[in-house]
């Protein structure tokens, strides 16, 4: 299937792919939401997962991030089988996700949102007897991240009071605090206006410079603009894969998904 020239591979063999699934399948009470998906995401690319509503995109995300156990099949991250890993351990492995609805902590300030991600490596997150100022050394890095996404004026505002676009920006700052190798974004543009879409797009581009991004997105112009590879999912199965030009001209894709409406 993959016809790209392979780079010198790492010790685990397929070093070119950061994530790889084999025969990934998920059934809900007999209903097959994801069927035999063999997904390969190349390192340092932006990979889009598209498909009509109910195609199983979020379910694939939930499987990759361990929020759901697959019925069958396996998941390999950086060559390691992570099929049975706990969801909270994926961050330590270098994979962080956002959610379709909202991924901010509404009653925490912008600063606290980022700080809570920064504090985990300190290993003090069970220390209920330590004062708040224990966390102050993290502020320098937090402020850098907040500035990077353009939220400096909102540093001490509760995240719940931010506009939709700024919440998305805050998500990025929080995610990047963990310095993940790979980001999974579930519909990062959902609910955003024109201008915000533009901003988040350029954020994703900047983030992806030295990272891998897998995203679900309905906005096809965003997909066309950002992604190196696109996988089309319909009714739980992969229908097509390739770059935008290849996918958008694929007749079965046009029929099943784009329905001939989009050029």
């Amino acid at each position: 299937m993959q016809q790209h020239a392979p780079r010198p591979s790492g010790p685990t063999g397929d070093g070119d792919n950061i994530i790889e699934t084999r025969g990934l399948t998920k059934e809900f009470l007999g209903f097959v939401a994801v069927r035999d998906v063999n997904l390969k995401v190349k390192r340092h690319t932006i990979h889009a997962l598209i498909g009509p509503n109910g195609a199983g995109k979020t379910t694939v995300f939930n499987l990759l991030t361990k929020f759901l156990r697959p019925t069958s099949g396996s998941i390999h991250f950086n060559g390691v089988d992570v099929t049975r890993t706990a969801p909270a351990d994926m961050a330590g492995q270098g994979m962080v996700r956002s959610f379709q609805i909202s991924s901010v902590f509404s009653h925490l300030t912008v600063l606290e949102n980022v700080r809570v991600a920064l504090q985990r490596p300190l290993g003090i997150s069970f220390h209920f007897w330590k004062p708040r100022r224990t966390l102050h050394p993290l502020h320098e890095r937090a402020d850098e991240l907040i500035e990077w996404v353009g939220l400096t004026p909102y540093r001490d505002v509760n995240a719940g009071e931010l506009s939709y676009g700024r919440k998305r920006a805050l998500e990025f700052a929080t995610t990047l605090a963990l310095e993940p190798e790979m980001l999974l974004l579930d519909e990062p543009m959902a609910g955003l206006g024109h201008e915000d879409i533009h901003r988040i797009s350029s954020l994703i581009k900047r983030v992806a410079a030295n990272r891998t991004v897998l995203m679900v997105e309905h906005n096809l112009s965003v997909v066309a603009d950002l992604s190196d590879t696109i996988t089309v999912l319909t009714r739980g199965s992969v229908l097509a894969e390739g770059d935008y030009a290849a996918v958008s001209t694929n007749p079965s894709v046009r029929e099943a998904y784009i329905g001939g409406v989009h050029a």
Partner: protein, 329 residues
Amino acid sequence: MSFVVSERKAAPNLGSTSLRVLAVVAAGVLLAAAPFFVYPIFLMKALCFALFACAFNLLLGYGGLLSFGHAAYFGAAAYVCGYAAKTLGLTPELSILAGTAASALLGVGFGWLAIRRQGIYFSMITLALAQMVFFFCVQAPFTGGEDGMQAIPRGYLFGIIDLNNTLAMYVFVVAVFLIGFGIIWRTVDSPFGEVLRAIRDNEPRAISLGYKANRYKLLAFVLSAALAGLAGSTKALVFQLASLTDVHWAMSGEVVLMTLIGGMGTIFGPVVGAVIVVAMQNYLAHLGSWVMMIQGATFIACVLLFRAGIVGTIIHYLRARRGGSSGQA
């Protein structure tokens, strides 16, 4: 600014720190002066229930976990403390520690079971477990059944200070309250508190950031149970009584009431709520069962008028005013 501006720039939410300091000073003055104006026994009761409500609020307000069975920890500790003081003849501070430890242990077991479920199921499990504790207390030989465990000796603090002296007892209760309250305040403001609030706000996201949510919830549960036990133990010494009322589900409901009236998720809210409820029970006692009606009406009025509770509403109001003056669009 680069983003489309669609909301007012609000005031920093940590700006309430100076307000808190002010409240602490005011509370200190109040606590010192109060026994000269109000019945000390009423004050001690209010302090015990205030601590109970604060402990409950740690779990509900900061952990987002609604327990319907907190009477179990309050009441079990009262019995254990009473048993330690009366039957074993321990000093009051050791008896209180025994009661607190018992509740912490109970919290480990019950919390471990309850946090496996979310929302209403979590609440139902805590209620069911608390009912088991209640029936155990009805049956067990050492609780005194319907009569309760009576004439618990207050004893001598550290073997020296006679707590039968009302003023000494009052000072002791104030000290216990301040220690418990201090632990809760510190916990909320700690690195742990920040993670706990994050889990409350968005559990899946916190997990994806690498936090094993259940462990944090369990620790919050145990701390809350232990501090509820501290309150229950102290109450047993104040009234020299541990009874079925302390473990009854109505007690679990009362602490929910206190917390919501005062304002959940605020440091001082539960204190205010507890004082209001205890005051109503005390000063309207001559009205008999009408107290329940008045209590219910107050609760409904509070929920309708101030959704965030009394203290929560005051904070919102102050923050909105400050935000208005410093707000640039």
